[in-house]
Amino acid sequence: MRTKYLLLILAFQLSCFAQNKEVLYNFTAIPQSSLVNPGADVSYKFYFGVPVLSGVSANIGSSSFSAYDLFANNGVDFNDKVRNVLNNSSSKDKTQLNQQLEIFSGGFRVGGEDSQSYISFGVYQEFDFLMYVPKDLGILALDGNRDHIGKSFNLADLNVRAEVLSVFHVGFHKKINEKLVLGGRAKLYSSGANATSTKNSGFIYTGQSNGTPNLYIQNITSNLELKTSGIAAFTKDEYDEANIPGDIAHNTFFNGSLGLGLDAGLTYYFKENLQFTASIVDLGFIRQSKDVETRRYKGTYNYQGANPVFDASNEPGDIFDDFENAIPRETLYDKYTTWRPTKFYSSVEYSFGEKRSDDDCNCKGKVTRKYVNALGGQLFAMSMPVEPFVALTAFYRRNIFDNLDVKATYTYDAYSHKNIGLGLAGTVGKLNMYLLVNNLLELKDVSKANSMAFQLGFNFVFQNAKD
């Protein structure tokens, strides 16, 4: 039962990792490949996605531990597991979830049968979560400070962001000539809920020194800030928590904080069988303006103790008052801007093995050779609070029958060094189907996987008769 739960969660809630869609990228048999490169060499007369089923994707990634490490039913005490995970993690390790669901999508060729210009559009919902392992605070919570005299617990380890948003987009791509395809996509973001706490700093320090009058030297320097948008209402006492999912959904599509973004991409053929592509996705921002609230703890506190002063008259001191004055809790209601995690993709692809054509003749006299095999490499990079995420992928794609394409990938990144992915895209009649899965080797025990990702979807694609 729990296995099923996990799979359901994997399948529909979480999305594989780092948002790297290495199997989908440049897999031009799938119309949705233009979402990761608006300049992908995709062609159709028109297409539309099966509503809600055209693009389901999920990534989950955790660079230092797996679900098994924490939740294995193996008799090991849970507290020991937490301690092990913490010991094996650094503050650069992260846990990430990304999930996308296309509500609808479509596209069509503009400018007549010979035109090679296309417009595509759609709406999708996205959930993003990124948290770095709060290692120092974890140690402080597990051990306290007694066994860590002289250590500065770093408050910057607290680094988390989460967002639910919907994206309305319109894209355009055009095959300028035989060598070059250019494309762009404009995006309107509507964020239903955002929480950002990524620029914290400060430390908690306990030291001991012989020359000092007090037993310990105790300092807290704090610059902690949590910004939220669309969430403050849920924390009010009179709010009924049962309404949270519905209210977030409503805000996401109809009453969100708005933002703008841009995708751009290109495909360039050095030779007919040597292709270069590059794209930048989600270069954009959201102006968080709905129900914004910022909590801040900023200040410096040096704790000396409850020290008596034997003067004739003095007001008794109060440690708590001192602390609250030194590091006051502030609540602000300023709007703020968040930047979307921007993704960069690039690929080089070499094709070989000419396809035998079943056609009797090519009446138009224009011969475009098609290749059965493609081999190449891809680069993925994504902006993140601490350092960018980078992944390298080698791939092989093969056209098996007229309407069936298979792509296999090997990806190397911070989450995994043995990430093998496989994708299938096929067309039956007008129905285009695709299923892409990565980390195949981990399927034998998904609970031990550091990352999983999949995308699947159904579209109806219509080509010109001559195509």
């Binding site: 296995t3 799979l7 103790g305 020290n307 609970s447």
Partner: protein, 184 residues
């Protein structure tokens, strides 16, 4: 026909791979077992009273008194999760008079809940530092501690050679608290 058949087969296989993949038995209920047992140390109080402070206008003051708010146990979190506490005291006396320090745990309305008495002999030219046995607060004694809201400090000077404004030496207190938390 054959092609679409193969397509279906391969799609089915891939779907099966995804949905019939295996997972070790996971138990998410064990998060309930999470039990944090951190141990925190902190300064409790210190003072450094020079000998001439016990002389006011040429008259010896036998007793010095002060109280400080110690209201951390107003916090429910601390009351609920503190399982054991320890106080450590260290006195150093370089005044040629003996002293007794009484540390009072006081309630909100200044009722004395407990008195910790620390005595130290007069300074005679050699090192005169005493580390007192750890005061351990558990069970009932811990409950008393949790009711305290103020700390009182009473220094009582024992009889001996008279002090003057030019007397040397001082009485020093260093102290720390150790808090054993159990958070479930």
């Amino acid at each position: 026909m054959k092609a679409s058949f193969l397509k279906r087969i391969s799609t089915t296989i891939l779907l099966s791979a995804l949905f019939f993949s295996c997972s070790s038995d996971l138990d998410f209920d064990q998060t309930k077992d999470l039990k944090l047992e951190p141990v925190f140390v902190a300064n409790l109080a210190y003072f450094d009273v020079p000998a001439n402070k016990f002389v006011d206008n040429g008259t010896e003051q036998q007793i010095a008194f002060d109280e400080q708010y110690f209201d951390i146990f107003k916090e429910k979190f601390l009351r609920d999760n503190l399982a054991k506490a320890e106080f450590n005291f260290e006195l150093e006396n370089t005044v040629n008079r003996a002293f007794t320090l009484n540390i009072l745990l006081l309630s909100e309305n200044d009722q004395v809940l407990e008195t910790i008495t620390l005595a130290i002999p007069a300074y005679s030219g050699t090192t005169n530092t005493i580390k007192y046995p750890t005061e351990v607060f558990e069970n009932q004694r811990l409950d008393v501690l949790k009711q305290s809201r103020k700390l009182g400090f009473v220094i009582v000077m024992s009889p001996g050679p008279p002090l003057s404004a030019s007397s040397t030496g001082s009485l020093k207190l260093r102290s720390g608290a150790t808090a054993y938390m159990v958070i479930e």
